[in-house]
């Protein structure tokens, strides 16, 4: 069974699917707007000089998120059926 884990646990090169946003409403709205909406496939492109922030590819765009914000994005492993 697929367990949910925070996006911040995703390593470089790994994929996951966003399951739920565990943040306050305002942050959730911004996350969805920029591409991190439920059901979206996310790919971790790695970080820069430090571990934080990390860059994620969602809906075709490359977005950098801080660790503390990525922690609120709960994902499941597994590819999108499409």
């Amino acid at each position: 069974m697929n367990k949910t884990f925070p996006l911040s646990d995703l390593r470089k090169g790994e994929r996951a699917v966003i399951h739920m946003l565990k943040t306050d409403d305002s942050t959730a709205a911004r996350l969805r707007g920029i591409g991190f909406s439920e059901g979206t496939e996310v790919f971790c492109a790695g970080s820069g000089l430090f571990k934080d922030p990390a860059a994620y590819r969602v809906k075709g765009a490359l977005i950098a998120l801080r660790y503390r914000d990525a922690r609120g994005v709960l994902c499941r492993k597994g590819e999108n059926p499409t």
């Binding site: 409403d25 305002s26 969805r32 707007g33 591409g35 075709g60 801080r66």
Partner: protein, 619 residues
């Protein structure tokens, strides 16, 4: 990520935009980085107007064009990811669309990130039923081997879809016939689903076909973002921009200088013919005119070079990468990675850097960025640093490259101070939690060099001329008065210098140096000339001698390496110039914070100078 966001006035202020009933008001909306500005510029050319409005700190940009006999007023809305980004406050774009002022809208999106753009399109259409979907960067879509079924998408959306590559000539114009034809149709009955994200996803699944693999990191990106290569790349880029600015500015500065000096004689002759008293003539020509000319010739060329370079770096996508790489240390100071960008702007001009702080969303983090911007040396302060470095540190006659390295070193110090003070502020006056930070890193794209240079240079020239006249002219007036007002044995200037001597000595400086900084409050460009003036006892600004002569003059007046170091430190850390303070007041609306913005760097400068002085006296 634009340095300045756009803003919108209350809807009723747009009533006057329609000169004829057949005019159309078109709202241009979309995510950031989708090429909206390219389209806007292509459609409106020079018929644009960027204004400032009180209230929201965002500028409004609207332009007009004429097509098929009809006048179209295009409102360039601020780029946003969602119309309802903040549960409490809607974006300026949402407000504008809600007002119903626009007859129709064009939602621009990146063909490579269509799903996200579609979600915004659906949100926009709920507010403005007549909306065109414009898919940009089709050239990149093709290169990636993806395929978008435009007709299918258009049918499914019940809305016109225009696919183009905005950078191609004539591409933007393909929008115009669509706009006109849509305006003639009745308002469509667009069913709005509750979940725009699910709908967008489903649409993309049906009409967009792309390869599954991730785009490979280009070589350039591997260098810019690589663990070991990122910092050297950034330093190299910074040094390169400095070098081009400083070297490139030399000849134009000299030309402008001789132009202004040349006109002095003509001006004097003219004023003599008007039978003005000699004193007044000297005041106007040697005081006001000369100082203003000085500031313009020193300030204009570097700014006219630096800002286009900076805009090019922004346009091609370098700036978000820098913010991405440097966010961590900033977040440790409870600040924001975007502060790196405002600091970069500050290198050109601190006032521009302060205005640029609008890109930082959190008010607390924005305040930190505003208060610390003055630690970054602006173009006006570079000549001081370069002169000090050349004369005392790298030795005249040495290659300009060594000087550039020293300069970079000082800049690193300024950056370090910025971090320390930011951290201090975050622990005391600007306490709070780090805010939400999401940064889009767009693909590296070739900037539109020609257009940038044309626009940027034009904007810069206007700004500099305005600043020179409003700041330098009064400074020149005051300076002339102090230098010519005989009091006892000396002039008011020399008396002021001796008064300042006492505090100056504590800092390892002398009265004349402090005087120079004080008089340069309106414009840092005149620090050195005022110091020279104070030393030589001349009654007006003279041409700054070349480094050899300047060096001799300074040594004659008791300068040592220590004096040079302290002067350099004080150059980095002293009150912001008048224009910057005025801008800070405008941005913060608070006298208290503006005062702090003046006191903070000054305090650091004084402390640093006293410390180096003490430290040196131990040897």
């Amino acid at each position: 990520m634009k340095p300045v966001q756009k803003k919108f006035p209350a809807p009723y202020r747009y009533d006057w935009l329609k000169k004829a009933p057949s005019d159309l008001i078109v709202a241009l909306a979309g995510n950031p980085n989708v090429g909206k500005s390219t389209l806007f510029n292509a459609l409106t050319g020079m018929h644009q107007h960027t204004g400032n409005w009180a209230g929201k700190t965002v500028e409004n940009a609207r332009g007009k064009t004429v097509y098929d006999g009809r006048r179209l007023v295009i409102a360039d809305l601020p780029g946003c990811y969602s119309l309802y980004a903040d549960a409490a406050e809607e974006t300026a774009a949402a407000e504008f669309l809600k007002s119903g002022v626009a007859d129709l809208a064009v939602t621009v999106c990146d063909g490579g990130a269509l799903e996200r753009g579609l979600a915004l399109f659906l949100q926009i259409r709920a507010l403005c039923p007549k909306t065109i979907l414009c898919i940009n960067f089709m050239d990149e879509v093709e290169k990636q081997g993806a395929y978008i079924d435009i007709d299918g998408l258009s049918a499914a959306l019940h809305a016109p879809v225009v696919a183009l590559s905005a950078k191609k000539k004539g591409a933007a114009e393909t929008l115009l016939p669509e706009i006109i034809s849509l305006s003639l149709q009745p308002s469509p009955d667009a069913p709005s689903g509750a979940d725009v994200f699910a709908e967008a996803k489903q649409l993309c699944a049906s009409y967009v076909h792309r390869t599954r693999s991730e785009p490979k990191k280009s070589l350039l990106d591997r260098l810019l973002l690589g663990k070991w290569t990122a910092i050297p790349c950034m330093l190299l880029l910074l040094t390169l921009i400095f070098w081009i600015t400083l070297e490139g500015a030399n000849i134009p500065s000299a030309l402008l200088s001789s132009f202004f000096t040349g006109l002095e004689n003509d001006l004097t002759a003219l004023l003599l013919r008007l039978s003005l008293p000699a004193g007044l003539i000297s005041f106007l020509v040697a005081g006001v005119w000369r100082t203003t000319g000085w500031v313009v010739s020193v300030m204009l060329p570097p700014m006219a070079i630096f800002f286009p370079l900076f805009t090019m770096a922004e346009d091609c996508g370098l700036l978000p990468r820098i913010a991405f790489l440097l966010d961590y240390p900033f977040s440790k100071c409870a600040a924001c990675g975007k502060q790196a960008l405002t600091m970069c702007m500050g290198f050109g001009c601190n006032a521009v850097g302060v205005t640029g702080c609008r890109i930082i969303d959190s008010p607390r983090e924005r305040m930190i960025a505003v208060l610390t911007n003055a630690f970054v040396p602006c173009n006006g302060r570079f000549p001081i640093l370069v002169a000090l470095i050349t004369i005392f540190m790298s030795g005249s006659g040495q290659s300009g490259f060594i000087s550039a390295l020293y300069l970079t070193g000082f800049v690193m110090l300024a950056i370090l101070l910025t971090f320390l003070v930011s951290k201090l502020l975050s622990l005391t006056l600007c306490k709070g939690m780090p805010s939400f930070f999401a940064l889009e890193i767009p693909p590296l794209r070739v900037p539109k060099v020609g257009e940038i240079i044309a626009r940027s240079v034009f904007d810069r020239i206007l700004f500099v001329l305005g600043r020179a006249i409003s700041a330098a002219a009064p400074a020149g007036a005051l300076l002339w008065i102090c230098a010519n007002w005989q009091i006892g044995d000396g002039t008011l200037l020399s008396i002021l210098a001796s008064v300042l001597e006492v505090p100056a000595k504590w800092m390892g400086l002398d009265g004349e140096i402090l005087l120079g900084f004080l008089f340069a409050f309106p414009a840092n460009e005149i620090v050195l000339p005022v110091i020279v003036m104070a030393y030589t006892g001349l009654s007006s600004l003279a041409e700054t001698p070349d480094y050899g002569q300047l060096g001799l003059l300074l040594l004659q007046n008791g300068w040592t390496m220590l004096t040079a170091v302290n002067t350099a430190l004080f150059t980095l850390c002293h009150w912001p110039c008048a224009t910057t303070l005025k801008t800070i007041y405008k941005e913060t609306g608070s006298r208290k914070w503006t005062l702090l913005a003046a006191v903070l760097p000054t305090l650091c400068g004084v402390v640093l100078c006293i410390l180096t002085n003490l430290f040196a006296s131990l040897f």
